[in-house]
Point group: C2
Chain length 283, copies 2
């Protein structure tokens, strides 16, 4: 019997989660971070960066569907899509379900993450060979500066913010560059942490995004892979509204492939508990 | 420096959570279960039964607001309310915020839980001396048989289901007795576990409730105190609809006291992800 156990501490180190490991599949120290992949009895394959769970096979669909389909079904006709981060491939898999999409750029800073996903995470990296997808391994905060008025959808699927490299995807300058890189009908989503353990970063990220974009709305989902099991993203645009401009008819094109997202969930995800509204100063 | 750590295993024993303990406040073995109360740096006081977290000061408001206010704001004028379980007092605290309420019976099988809550959990047990509240320490599945056509609202705030005592609050017979004990306009809510770790019980409980009541709807919330951080309850009634008969105007009476629940959250909580719909066989 195998008793190997993975432990993950939450911010502040006063709480955390653990899970049993059946097998270590891979471990490396890349230029940017420590990468590990485990086989587990409870969650299937688990992929971690610097000891924090990024992706679990059992329920990664929730995070990836929510970061992707909420903005994608608001845009009337998304063709050019940029994903910053998203190295496991789950977000590009969801983006490529939309029949209107012609070109997807996935800009993941760490080529080791892409290679590990390709080898060990087939359920998320399954579209890496899709001819519509271009994978670029460089710093997303630099790449974004090369584009003006080009992308219909920009998705920021980053790691947790830190004072270092990860923090560059949470600055007001970066969000301004995203704004510039988007078309007039452009829409945007970004992971903005959770409202229990990461109050400070949620607030910072949401406030910075709302300083830059004309429309900005926090939305939420049930995401067990990230303690405490609640996650937020921020939708933003130059004018499109997440409810009024939402086009649920288009969901029918691939509704049987969706395990979490649907029309009611889209609308419900924008309903915020009072303590979350207070956190981001909305009445 | 204190390194005491509490560990809680999820069902199946392949994953779990842990948190640091500053101080053991109380521990006892009652007739029914082991009861512990800890002081923690992350979650304030934590109250556990048989090693499972029941209540944490930091975020118990979410579970208690959702199990209470969803049914209470659907009933046009709730006067007589029955809570089965709910020994920590959080549910009775929320029920007693409604100005129409005249009598609340809280039927908690374990008198030790009530005594521990009174002494160590002042933020949830704060209404134990309210003259509108009657606390009865007996088996709820027996007490319910004494009432016919009496309660406007019945709330089942039980522990996790088991094959033993806790399981009696999840049987079809018990739900039938609840139906009989309710008035024509009566409404009902029950905790029905989570859709990740407790799929089997969620399904069983929801199906049994929907076999008995004319109207039954699962609803969900972000509840970090119970891994995996998502929780469900089931609303049921003899005829009232959770959306059409919802009366949001009445929230104004004490909206400043609500930290989670609001009009949008009420409606949004009934939106179910596709995998949850599938679990309970609804299209």
């Amino acid at each position: 019997m195998n008793h190997l156990r993975f432990e993950e501490y939450n911010i502040g180190n006063n709480s955390g989660i653990f899970f049993t490991i059946d097998k270590f599949l891979y471990s490396t120290q890349s230029k940017y971070q420590r990468i590990d992949v485990f086989e587990t009895p409870e969650f299937g394959r688990v992929f971690t960066l610097d000891g924090l769970t990024m992706t679990r096979e059992s329920d990664e669909f929730i995070y990836h569907e929510m970061i992707t389909h909420v903005p994608m079904f608001i845009h009337p006709n998304p063709k050019n899509v940029l994903i910053i981060g998203g190295g496991d491939g789950g977000t590009s898999r969801e983006v490529l379900k939309h029949p209107s999409v012609e070109n997807v750029i996935m800009c993941e800073i760490d080529s080791d993450v892409v290679n590990v996903a390709k080898e060990f995470l087939p359920t998320t990296s399954c579209e890496f060979d899709n001819p519509k997808l271009k994978i670029i391994c460089e710093d997303g905060s630099k790449l974004i500066k090369k584009y003006k008025d080009y992308f219909d959808v920009i998705i920021i699927d980053s790691t947790d913010p830190t004072e270092g490299q990860g923090g560059l995807l949470f600055t007001e300058e970066f969000y301004k560059d995203c704004y510039e890189a988007m078309t007039e009908n452009g829409v945007f989503s970004a992971e903005t942490e959770d409202p229990f353990l990461h109050k400070k970063w949620l607030k910072l990220a949401y406030n910075r995004i709302s300083n830059v974009f004309n429309v900005s709305n926090l939305y939420m989902g049930y995401v067990p892979q990230y303690p405490p099991g609640t996650w937020t993203w921020t939708f933003a645009s130059k004018g499109l509204d997440p409810i009024k401009d939402f086009n649920p008819e288009k969901i029918k094109a691939f509704e049987s492939e969706l395990k979490y997202y649907n029309e009611s969930i889209h609308i419900a995800s924008f309903a915020l508990p009072n303590f979350v509204k207070e956190l981001i100063n909305i009445k």
